[in-house]
Subunit: 363 residues, 2 copies
Amino acid sequence: MDNRTGHRIVPETAAPRGDRLAERHAAARYGNRPTMKDVAARAGVGLKTVSRVVNGEPGVTADTERRVQEAIEALGFRRNDSARVLRKGRTASIGLVLEDLADPFYGPLSRAVEEVARAHGALLINGSSAEDPDREQELVLALCARRVDGLVVIPAGDDHRYLEPELRVGVATVFVDRPAGQIDADVVLSDNFGGARDGVAHLIAHGHRRIGFIGDMPRIHTAAERLRGYRTAMADAGIPVTDSWTSLGVTDPQRVRRAAEEMLSGPEPVTAIFAGNNRVTVTVVRVLAERSRPVALVGFDDFELADLLQPGVTVVTQDAAQLGRTAAERLFSQLDGALLTPERTELPTRLITRGSGELPPAD
Amino acid sequence: MDNRTGHRIVPETAAPRGDRLAERHAAARYGNRPTMKDVAARAGVGLKTVSRVVNGEPGVTADTERRVQEAIEALGFRRNDSARVLRKGRTASIGLVLEDLADPFYGPLSRAVEEVARAHGALLINGSSAEDPDREQELVLALCARRVDGLVVIPAGDDHRYLEPELRVGVATVFVDRPAGQIDADVVLSDNFGGARDGVAHLIAHGHRRIGFIGDMPRIHTAAERLRGYRTAMADAGIPVTDSWTSLGVTDPQRVRRAAEEMLSGPEPVTAIFAGNNRVTVTVVRVLAERSRPVALVGFDDFELADLLQPGVTVVTQDAAQLGRTAAERLFSQLDGALLTPERTELPTRLITRGSGELPPAD
DNA sequence: CTGAAAGCGCTTACAG
DNA sequence: CTGAAAGCGCTTACAG
């Protein structure tokens, strides 16, 4: 019997699983976690003394401390940080809003932000916007409502005025990968323009003139910058660009495949392709693998195994982890009150030649 | 001249950047975000009326509501969820502790957990344990102190008794990928044993008898199960296993490379390798690419571009997203009070043949 | 339809 | 060395 049904009381260690879980469940429903007040009562001390012990503050005799510790363990007390936060102001947590945690570019970036947060004693709350501006805003504001100390945002939208009340009130904010829209905020970027320009110039240097560009939706800053890099490299070489050589849009395999196949057919097919990001590159590699005539390829973003493909894939690489680390460090500088002026930080890209970008035109 | 120095007041839109930021900074220092009390004062209503409007509760005239809304916008009010949580009990957030967000296996898993959380109106807080049991415990307890409603854990350690007080008090918990140690908790796993056994049997069916196994540290449940699958397949085929054919340990490239090279040299080299996870597989692919004699390979875990390598890499695949989704759904079932008995859920694996696993022994 | 009072579980500021 | 009181910003339970 247990105490509710009036039957025999079974020691907890011997209790059948169902009973223990029912207990657990009841506990959950009534939310009866022990509080400092409970600990104080059990230890026969005041509330403030418990607080001192829990927070390792000085001014408690060894004997008192021991009694409090015993009560803490007996009750299974754990400080409620929600209450603490309410009093102290800071939550020791930061928010990260990105496009998709499952993307191999954002995983390392997120991890890097987490490591910096950890070094500052903060937890990371993250959310994926799925490239949807409304969802980005929803997430950002939910994080603000939780009173995160700061926010790292890889924006999906291009209007961030909804953040103004938060900024005014002191929420530290750093944008990464793409700049904020309509507001003045810190941003850490890769040199998307320069990287793309160099990658395309590399293809031109290897004899190509009909070069295609397949990128993400033009409203995405990185996509627009890389396209600009492509156009600049072509213009610098005095090569006029035909409309059919550029294709921007969602980067799902179907669309990219179609775009690549169109550029590669017709009377004047491209002899080389510049792929605007890792997802595009991978799909283009698949398309090229099905064709007999060699086509040169340079992709923006490095990816695992790029060196093991035949030929190895030449890429313009950016350092996702460094992007995250830099942004997070700036965020904590803001929180320390060190930074007053929003700044734009641009990290360099690097060309890695592996074969695909050095193929001559198959004319 | 601004209001602090006593000089001319410049309208905010025209204020030099530094001044606006100084203001922002001052606001942050004093933490003076508007509260419901401020809104109530400005709108000339009671606190409870503001609460009603903010939470969309009925019983407010259109006119009153409008006045409150105006005050909210004028002040840039945003409800403080920390305070709300303190009163309501639930935080509408769940925690996810995994090994490394940057690992291509965990990214999709994390994203899947996030999607389920989102469908239940909850945010996701995640942390990487870096395969360190102490760090796992630290993270889990920090999440409990924040009073997450539930916890999804990919454990690094093998003793989770530290969670007992939390479980007793009703924190919903689901383990994923590996079971909990020393406590009774829900767990969602892949069929690591069966998957590895089938993969090795596949190599045996293609004529191999000297088959190597390279896996993760044996204290990791998945590594131990996959090794058991390997041994079982070998035993089922009546093939005695030589010690030098199995190598378990950290999966960094250096160690894996050395392990592979040792198995592939000597008087009786292996003719096939079973790689215990995605990181191992990738390194083994590199080692094999440097050798002239073909060696068969089957890897546990699928990875991008496995089909484009020469030969394509045969793998045993598990569904990381499905693992995360299943775990998160079970977590919310627990929170809804539906589940009373901890359960073990095992998801199937699948063999994908692409060439590398069908190579005959090069004897 | 509206609001004053009490309380969630802590920390702060102060007094003994 | 120790503790009672006030308050963080909300919601709950209740009264008008």
